[in-house]
């Protein structure tokens, strides 16, 4: 298959599946809380509605406010092209590795935080400050997780990591591997603003982190920001599933294998999403200054993962 068609598929999948995934998680949480909840396609309808609404821009805003949604969306989309959703050594494998993916997402958060500050509202400032704090505290865990996987695979390239785990399936049962997964899971909760760290559904100014930064956006800008958030959530789950349990990711580029890859991806995402939904219904939001302890736990888990992989080597 022409390599760039594959990248096109990756891009399409990231764009198409992410709102659905969020819709599925919301549906599951509603059902668990005894509500009917809107359908899986509700996020698509919201995006379509927003795209056609009029943009309301604050008088204080500068060009940063206008550019931030674009940069956020573009960087998340490019990250999507790099993450091995369906096939392992992607054509763009030598362009960006795991570190690039993480830092692309950080680029998006950076500009979103700036946009939050731009509108001179207290909530925007608060959101940016808290978002950047959590992003900063999550970095060390991500680095250690990447370090652990890269030491095992010999390089930080996503293709090699997937190929390594595929060729040595017994490695996944080692304690280090599982601890790395747990650490990355906690980081995913922090980065994408899921429940124990930040309540995605709330509009209560004092508690929201991600929501506060995007308070001033409306119309197509809000659509782009929401979509990027959903894509980021989708990518994190995809990373979690494909790097730690890479079965189903097609190694040879035949159309059949690709279809199997898509199926495996959807299956893994559904499993992870249900786990997440169960977790979110049971947990309540942590106070902001307890979040560093949570991230500290994840850092410790990642560190144990690495030291065990060293000492056992």
């Amino acid at each position: 298959m022409v390599p760039y068609l594959l990248e096109g598929l990756q891009g399409f999948l990231t764009l198409a599946l992410s709102p659905g995934l969020i819709g599925f998680v919301r549906l599951l949480k509603a059902r668990m809380q005894g509500r009917r909840g809107p359908g899986i396609l509700q996020p698509y309808r919201d995006l379509a509605k927003l795209l056609n609404k009029e943009r309301v821009v604050s008088t204080q805003a500068s060009w940063i406010f206008h550019a931030a949604p674009g940069i956020l969306f573009a960087s998340t989309l490019v990250a999507g092209l790099l993450v091995p959703l369906v096939a392992a050594p992607l054509p763009l494998d030598r362009v960006g590795d795991l570190v690039v993916v993480v830092y692309l997402l950080l680029l998006g958060t950076f500009f979103l935080a700036l946009a939050g500050l731009d509108t001179a509202s207290a909530f925007g400032g608060m959101g940016s400050s808290r978002a950047m704090t959590i992003a900063a505290l999550a970095e060390p865990t991500i680095a250690l997780a990447i370090f652990g996987m890269a030491v095992a695979a010999g390089s930080t390239n996503l293709g090699e990591i997937v190929a390594r785990t595929l060729s040595h399936p017994e490695a996944t049962l080692s304690a280090g591997h599982l601890m790395a997964f747990a650490a990355l899971f906690i980081v995913m909760l922090a980065e994408t603003g899921r429940l124990p760290v930040d309540n995605p559904a709330t509009h209560l100014e004092l508690t929201m982190i991600h929501e506060a930064m995007t308070l001033e956006y409306s119309g197509p800008y809000l659509a782009l920001v929401e979509w990027s958030g959903q894509m980021k959530f989708f990518l994190f789950l995809a990373l979690l599933s494909n790097l730690v349990f890479p079965w189903g990711v097609s190694v040879e580029m035949t159309p059949g294998a690709i279809l199997v890859g898509v199926g495996a991806l959807v299956l893994k995402l559904v499993v992870l999403a249900t786990g997440l939904a169960i977790l979110e219904t049971r947990l309540s939001k942590l106070r902001l200054f307890r979040v560093p302890e949570l991230l500290g736990v994840s850092f410790l888990l990642a560190l144990l993962a690495i030291t065990s992989s060293f000492l056992v080597r």
């Binding site: 204080q60 030598r94 500050l117 509202s121 940016s128 992003a135 680095a143 782009l224």
Partner: protein, 676 residues
């Protein structure tokens, strides 16, 4: 004309340019021509460096002197050329910038002293890199300190500037003494104390002497580079200097400390035991974390940038430390990878830190203040400066397409390669270092969101920043040059390939070694290891960014926009007091790292006389004096004060005591004479 003559020609042009500019400034002749001379001097210097790197020209210049120890001998080798390029990279824009830089109303380009000292400062830095014997190195090193000291002091008289001057002079001279001791001790066995002789004699030195020399050099050069225990002068001095000089000091002078470490550690001593690298790594990690934590809670923009320089020097030293460890373990391929990463980050830091300091200078000139709490909304008044400052902020926060990311990625790869070290404990430490490096990267991103957001975005917090005017064109040109450098170094890393791969070819033990990395369109850290291509990545981002508005238009997204007041829960008007300040922005992180900051807090509540429940005013004052100063420097000063007191007892004024001293001295010496 062989390449050697070309290099010497360029060097002569460089020297002539700087000296000519200094002369013009002394005679108060045309300032424009002075700046032009300095710029062409810097360009000539960089040209010489590039020529020396590309061709293996061994350009040497020696002035014979009757006493071999005091001869002035210069020699440009690959390592020196790399740093000479760095000086030229920041020197030219700084000179252009100084043309119209005149904050606080005093004459543009500073007085006569500042005019002469800037070219001499650049010249002495270039000579440090060219020096080939101990005397020349020490002469140009102390000349550099003196020139920068005068530039700081001449900026105008204020209490902080004088105390900053004293801090700087004291630490610089103490550092100089340590370096002098190290180098003279190193050159003790040789006749002319030239680097060539030292290199041969170094192997025969006993290992104790080699360790002592390394520790002396580490503390001497570390104090100049701003490594943690000796960095305290840096945040006090850099903000006081004129902004283009702060850019030079932070961007270039700190790197000469790194150059010194490389020159003594790897070149003259030819590498040493692994604990050298381990110590350097530990200091680097502490500097990185300490630097960024202090930068986060800083409200003075230039002081924030100075703290961030400490952080970046820490990151460079992490890479340097791993390089030393690899060198000690004989893994020379990986050693060159780590050292190249350090050099690459040094050059990148010179570019973006120079840009940020020049930007802060433009703000200082426009708003007359360095305190971020009084800035705000400058992006509307100074759009071009804002855009350039944003590029610098994004680069320093290591965001992908720019140069900060490229060098930080290489450092992460060298840390990763460190995992293959024979010592398991050292390998585990690599992981911890990677974690702390990432934490520093995250905190840097948060810090520079604040450093860009508070001054430039939202509403102006003071009258002056409301009426700020855009920086003059020469300053914008200077910033533009550095900004393009940031982008090019990031997006087209293969520009740096020739520099990075053969900058270390002259070091003993590392010459002719196949470097573990290959930088083409794709940057690969060693055979089979990870590869990244910032060029294609930037292309993808551009394409995605460009396609987006077309896609929106294609699917008929709404195009109308309406300006409205920022939503404020229905209150009447939006004022500047409602927006987030820099203290507020850093408050969550301050709370997270309280045990490191240990802020002092005192609250004064003024109750209404009638009842305790009505409060007239609450005064809350909190200050952070980094714990390091209290634990390390405070006792040092308390110890020095009584020591100075003993002097007063000796000179008590009584003649009888004085004559008694003579008699006592006579008797003591007579006793000694019997037994010596």
């Amino acid at each position: 004309m062989t390449s050697t003559d070309a290099v010497i020609g360029c060097l002569v042009v460089m020297g002539a340019g700087y000296l000519g500019a200094a002369l013009l400034a002394v005679l108060r002749a045309g300032r424009r021509s002075g700046v032009a001379l300095v710029t062409c001097g810097s360009v000539a210097g960089s040209a010489a460096a590039i020529l020396a790197l590309l061709s293996d020209a061994q350009a040497g210049l020696g002035f014979p002197s009757p006493l071999p120890d005091l001869a002035l001998v210069f020699h440009l080798d690959a390592l020196g050329a790399a740093f000479l390029l760095l000086i030229g990279l920041v020197g030219a824009p700084a000179a252009i910038y100084s043309l119209e830089y005149a904050p606080g109303g005093h004459s543009a380009g500073g007085g006569r002293l500042a005019g002469t000292m800037l070219p001499l400062f650049l010249l002495s830095m270039s000579l440090v890199v060219l020096a080939a014997n101990v005397f020349t190195f020490l002469l140009s090193w102390e000349g550099m300190s003196l020139a920068s000291y005068l530039l700081v002091i001449d900026e105008g008289d204020s209490r902080e500037r004088r105390s900053a001057g004293r801090w700087y002079a004291g630490m610089a001279h103490a550092g100089f003494a340590l370096i002098a001791a190290a180098l003279w001790l190193l050159g003790a066995k040789t006749t002319g104390a030239t680097f060539v002789e030292i290199r041969e004699a170094a192997a025969t030195l006993p290992s104790v002497v080699r360790d002592v020399v390394f520790l002396l050099a580490l503390s001497g050069f570390g104090s100049k580079a701003g490594l943690v225990p000796l960095h305290v002068w840096l945040p006090r001095v850099h903000p006081e200097a004129p902004s283009h000089v702060s850019a030079l000091m932070s961007g270039v002078m700190l790197k000469l400390g790194i150059y010194g470490l490389l020159r003594v550690g790897l070149d003259l001593l030819g590498g040493g035991p692994a604990w050298w690298g381990g110590l350097l790594l530990a200091l680097g990690v502490m500097s990185a974390l300490g630097g960024i934590l202090s930068a986060l809670v800083e409200n003075d923009l230039k002081r924030l940038l100075a703290h961030s320089s400490v952080e970046n020097i820490g990151i460079i030293c992490i890479a340097l430390g791993i390089g030393f460890v690899f060198r000690a373990c004989g893994m020379t391929g990986l050693a060159i990878l780590a050292l190249a990463a350090a050099l690459y980050h040094a050059i990148n830091h010179a570019a973006f830190k120079g840009l940020l300091f020049l930007g802060s200078g433009a703000i200082l000139q426009a708003t007359g203040t360095r305190n971020m709490e009084e800035m705000g909304g400058l992006i509307k008044r100074m759009p071009r400066t804002a855009a350039l400052f944003l590029i610098g902020a994004a680069a320093i926060a290591a965001l992908p397409p720019l140069n900060g990311f490229a060098s930080e990625w290489m450092i992460f790869q060298s840390l990763l390669a460190g995992a293959t070290l024979p010592y398991p404990f050292m390998a585990a430490m690599m992981a911890v270092a990677a974690g702390i490096l990432a934490l520093t990267g995250g905190l840097a991103a948060a810090c520079f969101v604040k450093a860009f957001g508070i001054p430039f975005l939202a509403m102006p917090r003071s009258l002056r920043s409301a009426e700020a005017r855009e920086a003059p064109s020469s300053m914008q040109l200077a910033m533009g040059v550095l900004a393009t450098a940031c982008v090019l170094l990031g997006v087209l890393p293969f520009l740096m390939a020739p520099l990075l791969s053969n900058a270390f070819r002259d070091l003993p033990g590392l010459s002719g070694v196949q470097a573990a990395f290959r930088i083409g369109v794709v940057m690969e850290a060693g055979p089979g290891a990870a590869g990244v291509s910032p060029t294609i990545l930037a292309l993808c981002l551009l394409v995605a960014g460009a396609l987006l508005p077309c896609a929106l238009l294609a699917i008929g997204a709404a195009r109308t926009a309406r300006r409205a007041e920022t939503w404020g829960c229905g209150r009447a008007t939006q004022t500047a007091r409602m927006e987030y300040t820099s203290t507020a922005f850093a408050e969550p992180l301050r709370r997270v790292f309280t045990d490191l900051y240990r802020p002092t807090k005192d609250i004064a509540i003024d109750f209404h006389p009638e009842s305790k429940y009505f409060v007239r005013s609450i005064q809350y004052k909190s200050s952070i004096r980094t714990w390091l100063e209290n634990t390390f420097y405070r006792p040092l000063f308390d110890l020095a004060r009584p020591l100075a007191g003993t002097g007063r007892l000796i000179q008590s004024g009584s003649l009888h005591v004085y004559v008694a001293y003579i008699v006592a001295a006579l008797l003591l010496l007579l006793l000694l004479a019997r037994w010596l």
